[in-house]
């Protein structure tokens, strides 16, 4: 009887410990996106966006050493990172070019833009970094291939500043992609 009482006390004391509330972050463009009528691009369409598998998790990723990462437990993405990246890039490319990139299956004659994000994380010394590739495919032939690799210092300590820095890096990537979309001379 004494042992049972002791276990109950210990269990109750364990439950009494205070849990840490997780923080959720969203990847969205920081630019102003005013209401306007959008027109779909006839020359270009969005193909695949590939995200490195290590990024495909809820926790934000910290690069703590060479080839060593740590996903945060209490700082989480509010949605799958794939959706966040796709939403941000399409919005910023559309803003830069004035035309919305439609899915490739809806624009069969268009040049297809394919994107791959190899790296998108923060470091303990206060930087965010990105490594990405994009390539244009026309008539089953790769006509352009580019790489974007950059890091950016955080404006403040903490994960919120890291998400802001990653957002800025993705916006910069969107501008580079938009600049590479030069329409072919029409027949």
């Amino acid at each position: 009887m004494k042992v049972a009482c002791l276990l109950l006390v210990m269990l109750l004391s364990g439950c009494a410990s205070q849990a840490v509330e997780p923080s959720y972050y969203l990847l969205r463009s920081n630019q102003d996106l005013p209401s306007s009528k959008l027109s779909p691009s006839v020359d270009f369409a969005l193909g695949t966006i590939e995200i490195a598998p290590y990024l495909n998790q809820l926790g934000l990723v910290i690069d703590i050493a060479d080839s060593q990462i740590r996903p945060a437990v209490n700082h989480l993405w509010a949605e799958p990172i794939y959706d966040g990246v796709r939403t941000l890039l399409t919005a910023d490319i559309a803003k830069a070019n004035g035309q919305e990139l439609m899915p490739a299956k809806l624009s069969k004659d268009a040049t297809v833009v394919n994107i791959r994000i190899d790296k998108l994380d923060g470091t303990l010394d206060g930087r965010a970094q990105i490594v990405a590739y994009w390539w244009l495919v026309r008539n089953d032939e790769v006509i352009d291939l580019n790489r974007f690799s950059k890091s950016r210092a955080l404006s403040a300590d903490g994960y919120s500043a890291m998400v802001d820095a990653e957002t800025a890096l993705l916006e910069e990537l969107a501008k580079k992609i938009a600049a590479s979309l030069v329409p072919p001379p029409h027949k």
Partner: protein
């Protein structure tokens, strides 16, 4: 009285009368010496008869100069001829060599001329024709007839063969473009090869006209032919019309050949038309065998290589094929029918020589290894005339040259109409063998059953039900579209599930590191915070 003295004079010691016998002695010695100095050797000449020969009278002449005289005529030891012993002059010694000829010159009346009329008064004599040998000889065999050409005459001696005895005989003229350039010396029939053999001589300088490409043909008599353009009459010279003769030349379209050596053999063709039909000297016989009808394939039919005529069909060896089959113990099994063909290199733009023939034979041998096959093709759809075609079929089964009798065989392949006919026949046979009546009866039963099923009310309602099912399926699929409520709900549920799984993963991580964390509170895990470095 005066005394008269007798005068004593010396008498002559030798009487003058002795001059006469002395003179006779000197003359005799001279004659003996002259005779000894001019006398040549004794020779023997064998003749069939002693016709015209007289001992001590018949002379030996060369260019009408006496060279000796017949001393003795006697029968030979077999009693089937005579031997004339002749005393020759010393001047004739260089002429007594191995191939020197002797014959009796008498008056002769031939078809073309009359010779030896002078012997009617002077008597027969033996003519000598010197040879060109270096070997001395004292025993000779006399000729029955005077040689038509002297042994040392400049020119070219050739041999001709023919498979039929034409009107050409010894002594006939050899013409070149109608001009007499030689003569036929001998004509014999050889029972071994069943050919008539001629020896002809072409006088110099006309022998230069003979090369390996020339053909000889008979121009005896008058050749007549009829055609669409009327009658054609061809003749040689008047000599050849009356007495026969032959001519030679290079057929149109054939290049001049190389020089020929003496005693080379040529074929004597019946006519120039015969040459035009068979203008080439060199060729090779091959046998191609077919397992189907050879109707329409007649002797003389073309043998072609990809449309170019390279020879002709000689004949169908049906009898020989049957014999071979019987010898092989395969009678009654439907043996292939062998066809003898003749392939000529001259038809392939090659020179008409033995070397070209060797090239063609080697090409065919190598070609068969690479798929060269013979096939029978229809040359004329109206007449049904067929010909042999040679071509490469790389996909054909491997084969090599074979033998049939003394001939080389080329493997064959069935192509074109023959193959099509066989396939159509095979298909028709297959259709014929089908149980069509039973099948149609069974099909009718099945159609009746199908009709009753289709007439069934439930079957007729089936399309309506099917339409409904498809519409429901479309509705179900559209409810799962990316912008549908179900899709949104599903995405939301998956996100919640992901978070739950992440929490569960965190919990299992904590429990694996600190199993007592269920009872004893553990310090909450703290994420590393990125900090702006001070630079």
């Amino acid at each position: 009285m005066p005394t008269e003295h007798a005068q004593v004079s010396k008498s002559r010691k030798i009487s003058g009368i002795w001059f006469i016998p002395l003179l006779a002695l000197v003359l005799g010695a001279y004659m003996v010496l002259h005779n000894w100095m001019t006398q040549g050797p004794d020779i023997e000449i064998a003749f069939k008869t002693a016709d015209g020969l007289e001992e001590g009278k018949t002379k030996i002449k060369y260019r009408n100069v006496d060279m000796g005289v017949v001393n003795e005529v006697r029968l030979n030891e077999h009693l089937d001829g005579v031997i004339a012993k002749v005393k020759m002059n010393r001047q004739a010694v260089p002429l007594l060599i191995k191939d020197t000829g002797f014959w009796v010159v008498t008056a002769r009346v031939g078809l073309g001329n009359i010779t030896g009329l002078n012997t009617l008064l002077s008597g027969a004599y033996i003519e000598l024709a010197p040879g060109s040998s270096k070997t001395e000889e004292r025993k000779f065999v006399g000729l029955d007839q005077p040689p038509l050409t002297p042994a040392d005459a400049p020119g070219l001696r050739l041999k001709l063969t023919s498979n039929h005895a034409s009107s050409v005989t010894a002594g006939d003229t050899v013409l070149y473009k109608g001009y007499k350039v030689g003569r036929v010396e001998t004509m014999t029939f050889n029972p071994d090869d069943k050919l008539v053999h001629y020896q002809i001589f072409i006088d110099a300088p006309y022998h230069e006209l003979v090369n390996s490409s020339v053909r000889f043909w008979d121009v005896s008599g008058i050749s007549m032919s009829t055609g669409a353009t009327g009658f054609k009459v061809q003749t040689g010279s008047i000599d050849t019309i009356l007495f026969g003769g032959l001519t030679f030349g290079v057929p149109t379209g054939i290049k001049d050949g190389g020089k020929v050596t003496k005693n080379s053999t040529f074929e004597l063709y019946k006519s120039y038309k015969d040459i035009l039909e068979n203008p080439f000297r060199y060729g090779a016989y091959y046998v191609v065998s077919f397992n189907h009808s050879v109707k329409g394939l007649s002797p003389g039919a073309p043998v072609e290589y990809r449309g170019i005529r390279v020879g002709n069909v000689v004949r169908v060896l049906f009898k020989e094929g049957q014999s071979e089959q019987i010898e092989a113990g395969q009678e009654g099994e439907g043996a292939p029918i062998p066809v003898l063909v003749y392939v000529e290199p001259g038809r392939m733009e090659l020179s008409d020589t033995e070397a070209s023939l060797v090239v063609v034979e080697e090409t065919i041998r190598l070609g068969v290894g690479n798929g060269l096959r013979g096939s029978m093709e229809r040359g004329n759809l109206l007449t049904g005339a067929q010909y042999i075609n040679l071509d490469y079929y790389p996909a054909a089964e491997k084969a090599t040259l074979g033998t049939f009798m003394q001939y080389t065989t080329i493997p064959t392949i069935e192509t074109g109409l023959a193959q099509m006919e066989e396939k159509v026949t095979s298909i028709l046979n297959t259709i014929d063998a089908l149980p069509l009546a039973d099948t149609v009866a069974s099909l009718n039963q099945n159609l009746e059953s199908l009709e009753s099923i289709l007439d069934n009310q439930s079957t007729q309602q089936l399309p309506t039900h099917l339409d409904q099912t498809i519409q429901e399926l479309r509705d179900a699929i559209s409810s799962l579209a990316p912008n549908s409520d179900a899709s949104q709900t599903l995405n939301s549920s998956l996100l919640s599930l992901n978070r739950t799984l992440a929490n569960l993963e965190s919990l299992t991580g904590t429990l694996s590191r600190q199993p007592s964390a269920v009872i004893f509170p553990s310090s909450p895990e703290v994420d590393p915070i990125p900090e702006v470095s001070e630079q």
